[in-house]
Amino acid sequence: MRGRRDCSEAEYELQGVWRCAVWQMTNLWPWLSLAGLGAFHGANPAMGWLFAVALGLHRQSARTVWLSLVPIALGHAVSIATVLAVVVAFEAVMDLRGLQLVAAAFILAFAAYLAIYGHRHRVRVGMRAGMAALAGWSFLMATSHGAGLMLVPSVLSLCLADQGGMAGSLPISLAAVAVHTGAMLAVIAAIALAVFSWLGLAGLRSAWINFDRLWILALGATGIILIVW
């Protein structure tokens, strides 16, 4: 399956117009979607910017807001890196189609679980959280919300486009984590700064749309993309 850079006539006929069009965009869209998903994750108040703002308000310190963003981004990055590492490991031993279907089944099941049971679980970290606890919290929030799972199609497609095999998958995956986390960090920093310095929290009452529901939809879309790919 590896090494196909372009659409040959045969492939065009074999795979159809849609797949071919997607294929040709391969080089750019995975990076864009990784960054876009980073922004999407960062915008979710449950992924950390709100926690950073709250800690800043409690400790009356803008510095606390900034410092808190680091462990929040780090925990998020470790969570998605773990998911991607699992995917890359499976990629080494499975054919692509099989991996796509297994990943799709898992992601759809996870989305269904979230839709039925929600995200609630033991609360282990509160407002006295230190930096390490904050990183752990961010890791758990990203993992339990399935943040890394949303990145699977992009990363598979990048690995596929690359010819380096397993050895090439690793740096690509790391780059994927970096792009995603960078975008996420930029967004949480921008929102946290704006809310802490200018907007205040009153807007939460109306502007906090149900991200849990959006995430379930996004996970469902991710599973479907993997199946129809």
Binding site: V53, A54, H58, R120, V123, R124, M127, D212
Partner: protein
């Protein structure tokens, strides 16, 4: 059902909650002390513009008799906006109503018609016993991990009492809250400092020492509760116990500062064995530990023994019996119910270690029997008891019954239920709303009041 936006009654901070619209309805627990007819949640019209102002406009009866409805709470509140455990897309819609005597939990839906609430689920005491090992359900708070319910006893009616959790959505009993209860045995009230990851619990006694009334030997032996317990809210471990000493009995209602950055709160102690006084204590942080200080002592009033019930006759004095307190949303005014003398006292607690009295009214009372302008009977019995403050701090509501088996010990000729309202001056001062007096229908006595959309003891906040 999940919603797209947070419930409009959730506020990030107490400052914002204080600007909430005025309540138009109050829900009031009403119980039959004779346990002959079902207890009920009554709906009282508190909208001054309404033609049925100060009247009971709806009622939902419990499916059984003898529950002894007491305290109750909402399924969800402003703590759903907390950043560490956010889940704000739920509705504040259901009242969670336990029976203190029956240990039965009722889930009551106020949404289809707020004036005609409906019971949608009943959780039987067996389920609570099976899953959480508790009974005698007392206080409800919505919080970070779901709905917290405390219980005064284990399933066999013995110590320890404690706290268990209900699922926010399904109301299933999730199990005991405590992971390590340390020396804690007795239970009464609980609440927390969300900003300090701290749970606080107080103490009454085991059911055998209150279900047939207070036992004088237990009281004089200082065997009722007299301690505060401090817990880590998230590891659920007991951290510290503070004993108020042998003199002090019945450490009841806990009112932590609403501002989550503040680490202090107030608790009432019903009676001193030394001089029958009641007291208010402030807990606060000192040297990385919790400490307490008695900040208010309300003395007993000398009285003609002929006017006193048997339990007080020998003392020639009426005890204030502070049985409930409540703190305004801005943490400025503390309201103190003196169920014995009939006083409702307002203190300015801007300096939590040095309260100043700013207002006082008297109604009912063991000796005073003070009346109300709108009461037809000129001698009211019972006294100020469960007190609730509107979120803007402008209105205070209270009722007059304490507990079925204890009411006749202090008011032997019986209690006729009433509910009244105070108006609060901008800088303190309280006065009766002369047009608000609910002459409670015979057969039921009113207890806790919950206000539509939330009040000053229903919600907790994560942001200052």
């Amino acid at each position: 059902m999940a919603t797209w936006r947070p419930d409009p009654s959730f506020y990030p901070s107490p400052r914002m909650a204080a600007k909430a619209p005025k309540e138009t309805l109050a829900y009031v627990a009403a119980f039959d002390p004779d346990r002959q007819r079902p207890d009920a949640i009554a709906v009282v019209d508190v909208d001054p513009a309404s033609s049925s102002y100060s009247q009971i406009v709806g009622q939902v009866d419990m499916p059984n008799v003898g529950d002894e409805l007491h305290h109750f709470g909402w399924n969800a509140c402003s703590s759903c906006l907390c950043p560490n455990a956010p889940h704000p897309h739920v509705e504040r819609r259901y009242l969670v109503v336990p029976g203190l005597r029956s240990s039965r939990l009722h889930i009551i839906d106020t949404k289809p018609d707020p004036r005609k609430p409906e019971i949608v689920r009943v959780i039987e005491p067996e389920e609570v016993a099976e899953r959480a090992n508790y009974s005698r359900l007392h206080t409800i708070h919505c919080g970070p991990e779901g709905i917290y319910v405390n219980a005064l006893a284990d399933r066999d009616g013995k110590a320890p009492g404690g706290i268990f959790l209900l699922d926010h959505d399904s109301f299933d009993v999730l199990g005991q809250w405590e992971m390590d209860r340390g020396p804690q045995k007795l239970a009464y009230d609980f609440w927390w400092h969300l900003g300090h990851d701290t749970m606080i619990t107080s103490e009454w006694g085991t059911p055998d020492t209150f279900e047939n009334g207070l036992v004088p030997e237990v009281l004089l032996g200082s065997q009722y509760g007299r301690r505060l317990h401090f817990w880590d809210l998230h590891t659920r471990k007991h951290l510290q116990e503070i004993d108020f000493g042998e003199e002090h009995q019945l450490v009841f209602e806990l009112r932590p500062a609403h501002d989550p950055t503040k680490a202090y709160g107030f608790v009432g102690c019903v009676i001193s064995l030394k001089n029958l006084s009641a007291s208010i204590w402030t807990w606060y942080r000192e040297d990385n530990r919790w400490a307490v200080k008695k900040v208010i002592e309300i003395p007993a009033e000398p009285a003609d023994p002929d006017l006193l019930p048997p339990v007080l006759k020998g003392f020639n004095a009426v005890a204030p019996l502070v049985t409930d307190i409540d703190l305004s949303m801005d943490d400025r005014f503390l309201y103190v119910s003196c169920w014995g003398t009939g006083d409702m006292i307002q203190y300015d607690v801007s300096d939590p270690l040095a309260p100043k009295e700013t207002g006082r009214v008297r109604i009912g009372g063991i000796v005073a029997r003070a009346t109300h302008p709108k009461a037809s009977n000129g001698r009211l019995n019972g006294g100020p008891q469960m007190v609730e403050i509107s979120r803007d701090g402008k209105r205070v509501y209270f009722t007059n019954s304490l507990y079925g088996a204890i009411d006749p010990q202090f008011y032997p000729d019986g209690i006729d239920g009433w509910m009244v309202k105070l108006d609060v001056g901008d800088n303190g001062g309280i006065a009766f709303d002369e047009t608000f007096f609910v002459d409670w229908p015979k057969g039921h006595l009113p207890h806790q009041v919950r206000l539509e959309g939330g009040d000053c003891s229903s919600d907790s906040y994560c942001y200052p």
